[in-house]
């Protein structure tokens, strides 16, 4: 059928086979500092391993993989990768960002999650571009400069995205790339929006805002405060320890044990910070990013819809033009007939009104079709109009021009008609695909949320249990103080 579906069926490569194995899991086994020999710049390379296949990729390559996947599949929710170092990080750590171990660990975890999310995605996981990323000995730049990536149009609206349309995917579609096809702007308001997508757009916007502005912030605060408290506890534990040295007997023992309990609180708090960071904070961040990705995907569908409406619109105006051209044509014909009849009545009699009328209608007639093709060039319109008047004065054969225009309009209408059909089909296909994707994503999100909440609760249970034990021990020791 086409490239796309054949990819989907199976690219049959080694990686594809590996990924289809039961419980295949992609690991990032390590991260090393590497340096480009000529530039002398250093970067961190991450070792990716699936079964026995191992390869190294750097952060920027992950970034470009993600970009490539989302360009190839504008209707799919491509999982996020960890954010770039913020300027603040650079300012705070300066050149040492790359040596920042916790940061590298965090990236390792999040990049690993990213790869596995892609691998488990029903469509992205079968994309050969992704397989090439995992393959050892493949230079990523080669993948970037070969099809399908090299053939991707700049604007995803210029290609067919859904499998409904029997056309080549990941490539310029000749019809959609025609300069007759309008490019909608992001602010375009749909004339007949799809109520279901309107709903989910609203929902996604709210979720995205809520995630990044509220939930992520408040959970981060908890973690940060816990970290600060952990340090306080460390200090307090040391104080109790010193205190116990100044006392003697059971009192000293009791204070020492209390100090140990506080020390344990320190260790446990620090431990909890790490666990929460990995098992709660990072997924929340990820889903906050996800929400924004969903927003982008929905925006793409919105544009696709807008594109279809605009094609409809221009087809409509072309049709009007054609109608008026044809009306003019028939009028001109009637005029001619009338003139020829007039000649038979009185050869010297000239109807000035008729001539004037003819003259002005001539202008009218030649003008609208031009305008129809140049709808969006308003400042040019006047110049054109003047040009046409001039042309009319000079024009030797207005009829020929008119006929020519009628032909052109008809051609354009054919193209638009075809584009409209493709777009309509594509939109419907894309919408359906997007809908499935949203449903799938929603399930994935609920599952993630469930796992995160369970992890959160378990981490707290563990924290409380450990602390409980050490404090109970301390309590026993306090009881030994005899009075």
């Amino acid at each position: 059928m086409n490239n796309r579906s054949s990819t989907r069926a199976s690219c049959g490569c080694t990686i594809d086979r590996l990924l289809r194995q039961e419980e295949a899991y992609i690991f990032i086994t390590g991260a090393q500092k590497q340096s480009d020999t000529p530039a002398g710049k250093t970067y961190i390379a991450y070792n990716i391993r699936i079964c026995d296949t191992e390869t190294k990729r750097r952060y920027s390559e992950f970034e470009s993989l993600r970009r490539a996947l989302s360009r190839l599949h504008p209707t799919l929710i491509v999982p996020p990768i960890p954010e770039k170092h913020s300027i603040v990080d650079y300012a705070a750590l300066q050149t040492r960002v790359k040596d920042d171990l916790p940061m590298i660990e965090k990236r390792k975890r999040m990049l690993q999650t990213f790869l596995n999310r892609v691998a488990n995605h029903p469509e992205l996981g079968r994309d050969h571009v992704f397989h090439r990323f995992l393959e050892s000995g493949v230079a990523w730049s080669d993948v970037l400069h070969s099809p399908p990536l090299s053939q991707l149009p700049k604007n995803p609206l210029q290609m067919v995205v859904s499998k409904e349309v029997n056309a080549q995917a990941h490539k310029y579609n000749m019809i959609l790339s025609s300069n007759l096809i309008p490019i909608p702007s992001a602010t375009y308001v749909l004339k007949s929006p799809d109520p279901r997508f309107e709903e989910s757009e609203k929902f996604t916007f709210r979720i995205a805002n809520y995630m990044s502005n509220n939930l992520d912030k408040s959970q981060r605060k908890v973690i940060r405060r816990l970290g600060e408290l952990a340090n306080d506890y460390a200090e307090l534990g040391a104080v109790y320890n010193g205190f116990s040295l100044n006392e003697s007997g059971p009192v000293a023992n009791a204070i020492e044990k209390i100090g140990q309990a506080v020390d344990a609180s320190y260790t446990e708090s620090a431990q909890m910070v790490t666990s929460l960071e990995g098992e709660f904070a990072e997924p929340i961040q990820e889903h906050s990013q996800f929400a924004h990705i969903v927003k982008q995907v929905l925006r793409f569908r919105h544009l696709k819809h807008a594109q279809m409406e605009m094609i409809e619109g221009s087809l409509e105006s072309k049709k009007e033009n054609l109608d008026s051209l044809q009306r003019m044509e028939s009028e001109a014909r009637r005029l001619e007939e009338a003139i020829s009849r007039e000649r038979t009545i009185g050869s010297n009699a000239v109807d000035i009104d008729e001539l004037n009328n003819n003259h002005s209608s001539q202008v009218d007639a030649s003008y609208p079709p031009r305008r129809a093709t140049k709808t969006w060039a308003s400042p040019v319109k006047m110049i054109n109009a003047m040009g046409h008047s001039l042309q009319n004065i000079i024009d030797v054969d207005p009829e020929a021009t008119r006929r020519n225009q009628i032909g052109k309009t008809k051609d354009a209408m054919d193209v638009l008609q075809e584009a409209l059909e493709i777009t309509r089909k594509d939109l419907s296909g894309a919408s359906a695909e997007l809908q499935t994707e949203l449903d799938r994503f929603q399930k994935e999100k609920i599952k993630d949320l469930r796992d995160m909440l369970i992890a959160y609760a378990k981490i707290h249970i563990r924290y409380c249990q450990r602390n409980l034990e050490s404090w109970q021990e301390a309590r026993t020791e306090v009881d030994k103080i005899s009075i």
């Binding site: 939930l215 408290l229 100044n246 599952k447 249970i461």
Partner: protein
């Protein structure tokens, strides 16, 4: 009760009289130092001392001021004597005591510990003391220095108004087997803060060598802010007053004090208070003490007594440690409060999410509730920690200050005594020199003496006559000083003994209070973590009930399968 006071007066005179003949011999100082292993004797008579120290060389006026044996500082000796008689009555069974006592924050330790026979208990106390101070202290029989069961509770604050303004009274209920009290049944009186202040001052005057438990701060800020009638403030003050009375009730001597009895028992407190104040020696000595302290503020102890140096060091260290804990906790407490608020706002965030993710809103709601419960439990822990442990630390700190004040008073006495002894020494030297003119005992040259002699020679004063007169004067002076120094020696010994006993009481109280605080501290944490485990565990099934695979329940509005778009 009056008998006790009669006793007191009598004892004072008896002891001072009895000691005077002791002081014979050429060098009284050496005699004292031989009789005790150490030389830290104290003088208690500040008035005359001032004169001695400041007017070196003009001793004529000194002879006119006689020793004042009944100064308040002399009380320790008295108490030792009177106490042994009262302490012998057997303790009542503790069960009778604890019955009918409202379990406020009352520390019932005194009554509970009394179930143990007195002798082994005091011997353990003695043992710990020994282990802390490896010198051989002349230890008085400790069996007698044990508090009797006594439980005092401070409860039910009530607001009153009269012409002078509004004030709070507290219901003070005492249960004790002390024979100074009318009965062993619980007895309740109402007292206001001012009354506590009176008791505190009375005890300070009556027992200068004792560590009198401190009263809560005046809380000036609350007075200015005007919220000194807020329930929080009143309750905290009530707790502090409870601490104050607990400490008194644990103190073997203070618990028997007349002032304490009047405070705890009197039905006509206003009159009894006045009567009692009259019995307590006049407070004029406060001024003396003050000027004396100023005078000797920069004088160092010549022969520091290791025992008291150790005591001070121990108290200092304790104070340091407590202070560090308190300071650190002012930060940690705030941080814990912040964390608790962070959890609360996180809970709200989850709550908000539950209105967005309608498919799992029930579970999210449950999770939000759990988080806020957790925050609440944390808040309770903070509160308990603050009220029961940090308050304990704070009170103990105040007690440390009181202990240090007493130790400083002891030091002061030693300084005064040392000054007096030095003066005595100088006077005897003077006599020697007058007897044998031209001979310098210490080998040095007394310039002022020579100058005076020369001037007198020039004036043509009859040297022989003048010398005779001077000798007579000096002899009289030395006699007086002898008795004075001897007396001071006796007093200072008593003071030292008292401080040693006080220290023991203090250590005991400290141990008890530390235990009490640590128990509350550990318990508040245990309770919190237990609650934590249980609330987080109870939410797990709800969270696990989120099913992913059955299609409908989990999805929101976009969930429906779409087939076509227009």
């Amino acid at each position: 009760m009056n008998d006790d006071y009669e006793n007191v007066e009598w004892n004072v005179h008896a002891t001072s009289d009895a000691y005077t003949p002791h002081v014979e011999g050429d060098d009284p100082l050496s005699a004292f130092s031989n009789s005790n292993g150490y030389q830290n004797n104290n003088n208690t008579h500040f008035g005359p001392m001032k004169g001695f120290v400041s007017t070196n060389g003009h001793f004529d006026d000194l002879s006119s001021s006689p020793p004042l044996p009944s100064s308040p500082s002399f009380m320790p000796t008295v108490m030792n004597g009177s106490k042994s008689t009262t302490a012998t009555s057997p303790p009542l069974p503790p069960t009778a005591m604890t019955n009918g006592i409202k379990k406020e924050i009352t520390v019932t330790t005194p009554s509970s510990s009394s179930s143990i026979p007195d002798t082994p208990k005091s011997s353990t106390a003695h043992h710990t003391y020994k282990s802390k101070s490896p010198y051989s202290a002349p230890s008085p029989p400790r069996e007698s220095f044990v508090a009797k069961p006594m439980v005092i509770s401070v409860a039910d604050p009530q607001k009153h108004s009269d012409a002078q303004g509004t004030y709070i009274t507290y219901l003070v209920t005492t249960t004790t087997t002390l024979d100074t009290f009318v009965s062993s049944h619980p007895r309740s009186v109402r007292r206001r803060f001012q009354d506590f202040v009176w008791l505190h001052n009375a005890l300070l005057l009556e027992y200068p060598a004792s560590i009198v438990p401190p009263l809560p701060d005046k809380h000036r800020l609350e007075y200015i802010k005007g919220d000194r009638f807020s329930s929080e403030f009143i309750d905290r003050r009530r707790m502090s007053l409870q601490w104050f009375l607990n400490r008194i009730s644990r103190h073997p001597e203070l618990q028997r004090s007349q002032s304490v009895r009047v405070f705890l028992e009197s039905g006509d407190f206003r009159n009894d208070k006045r009567m009692q104040s009259r019995k307590v020696p006049p407070a004029a000595s406060v001024l003396d003490t003050l000027s004396d302290t100023l005078l000797n503020a920069f004088t160092k102890i010549k022969k520091p007594d290791e025992r008291f140096v150790d005591m001070k060091e121990t108290v200092d260290k304790l104070e340091d440690n407590l202070d560090t804990v308190e300071r650190l906790y002012s930060r940690i407490g705030k941080r814990q409060k912040d964390l608790q608020q962070d959890y609360a706002s996180f809970s709200q965030s989850i709550q908000g999410l539950s209105t967005l993710e309608t498919g799992i809103s029930k579970q999210l709601q449950g999770f939000a509730d759990t988080t806020s419960k957790y925050a609440k439990a944390m808040d309770e822990m903070n509160h308990d920690e603050d009220l029961l442990f940090l308050n304990d630390v704070h009170e103990l700190l105040a007690y440390c200050h009181a202990a240090k004040v007493t130790l400083r008073a002891r030091d002061q006495k030693q300084v005064d005594f040392e000054e007096l002894s030095a003066y005595f020494h100088r006077t005897t030297q003077e006599r020697e020199r007058t007897l044998h003119p031209g001979r310098h005992l210490d080998g040095g040259l007394n310039i002022s003496e020579i100058v005076t002699d020369k001037i007198n020679e020039v004036r043509g004063i009859d040297m022989q006559h003048a010398r005779r007169e001077k000798l007579v004067r000096l002899e009289r002076k030395i006699k007086e000083l002898e008795s004075e120094v001897a007396h001071a020696n006796d007093v200072s010994n008593a003071f030292n003994d008292q401080v040693i006993k006080e220290y023991e009481v203090f250590q005991q109280a400290k141990t008890e209070e530390i235990k009490q605080g640590l128990v509350a501290y550990a318990d508040s944490h245990i309770k919190f973590y237990e609650t934590g485990v249980s609330i987080w565990e109870s939410i797990l099934p709800t969270l696990e009930s989120i099913h992913i695979d059955d299609g409908d329940g989990d999805e929101e509005e976009v969930a429906e399968e779409s087939s076509t778009t227009s």
